[in-house]
Symmetry: C2
Subunit: 219 residues, 2 copies
């Protein structure tokens, strides 16, 4: 019985790692959808979010069942509750990919990204991919070094976000208010996507070391 | 022992209601800060967020303790886990008040809100106040009717958000790109503030009726 229980705990962790892959796929597709004004891809991201939500919902049910049937000790309990919070963060990362896809859909057949900003958005997509892959490693291996790296990758994202802001606010901006708002919101989705990854890293550090974490700056 | 335990459960709920009051105060102050370009008020909202985070953190510890020491039955467990999710939503609502305050601080001594949009932002502040107060009622009384009302108040917020968008994107907009981005982001903070209240309402409905809820549209 205990062994089946520990298998269930492992499976719980595996599903979190699986969620990072789903979220990664969603954001890669959303980035391509917005760069190429690809409506089919955008719709596929929007529809695919259900699967991510379903995994999150399953995890919640599993956690309830594990706690109710197995009465885990304090440490295991902390891991499970943290796991639920991590699952909620991943679910929101999936929602952010959907927001990017919806921005693409809103402007279709036009592109929501002016030519001048394709480079920045492409880089934001790459950073998003890197940070969520690393988040998967952190979850799979409880790798504290990798958890710390998430903050460094996040700094790159923040720097891109600022770069985009400067472009939009410069006197040379020639695409008007609507395009400015579109790309600012999209940029913010990427920035928050990375913030959630950092929060997950902090939760894993908390699980492993008991160190408190702060959620400052993440919403 | 069981009686002390139920007192603890009640206290858990009371603290959630207390959080709605802290969050309400924060958003009221943030709204005044951004309308009046009041730096002192803005700083007070930003500093005050620590208290909200601390209550959320306390609730997490209490939940762990309750589960570990009392081995609650399945229903109570569901209530506790839902309570943690509700606490996380309230914590994020506090973060959104901080974002509004930071928008005020960023433009100080100028105002982040052009004269023409004072009316809409004032109304958004009022709707935010109404929805978080009602959320407090929902939590205090597990009032399902009030929980349903949250969606109706949220519709008012969405309508204000669209109204602001139309103003910013109209040909008459004369405040430039920076002001457009400022007010769009601020408007989005209010909109998401209301979304979180709706999510809390759905969680309470889930606790009381067992009905599943959807997190679609909330991030």
């Amino acid at each position: 019985m205990r062994s089946a229980y520990h298998e269930q705990l492992d499976q719980f962790d595996n599903q979190l790692v699986h969620m990072t892959k789903l979220v990664n796929d969603a954001m890669i597709q959303a980035t391509n959808a917005i760069l190429d004004a690809d409506l089919v891809l955008a719709e596929s991201v929007i529809a695919g979010d259900e699967e991510i939500d379903a995994v999150a919902h399953d995890l919640e049910e599993q956690a309830l069942e594990l706690v109710a049937l197995q009465a885990p000790v304090a440490t295991e309990l902390r891991v499970l509750l943290s796991g639920l919070r991590i699952s909620a963060s991943l679910e929101r990362m999936g929602d952010l990919a959907v927001h990017v896809a919806k921005a693409a859909r809103l402007r279709y057949p036009a592109s929501a990204v002016p030519a001048e900003l394709r480079g920045v958005i492409t880089e934001m997509g790459e950073v998003a991919e890197r940070i969520v892959q690393r988040t998967g490693d952190v979850l799979a291996e409880r790798d504290l070094l990798a958890a710390g790296e998430l903050g460094i990758i996040d700094d790159e994202m923040d720097s891109l976000h600022r770069q985009l802001f400067r472009a939009v606010l410069s006197d040379d901006w020639k695409y008007g208010v609507e395009a400015a708002i579109d790309v600012t919101l999209v940029s913010r989705y990427y920035e928050r996507f990375a913030d959630h990854a950092v929060t997950i890293g902090k939760r894993v550090i908390h699980i492993v070391t008991g160190e408190p974490y702060s959620t400052a700056g993440v919403e």
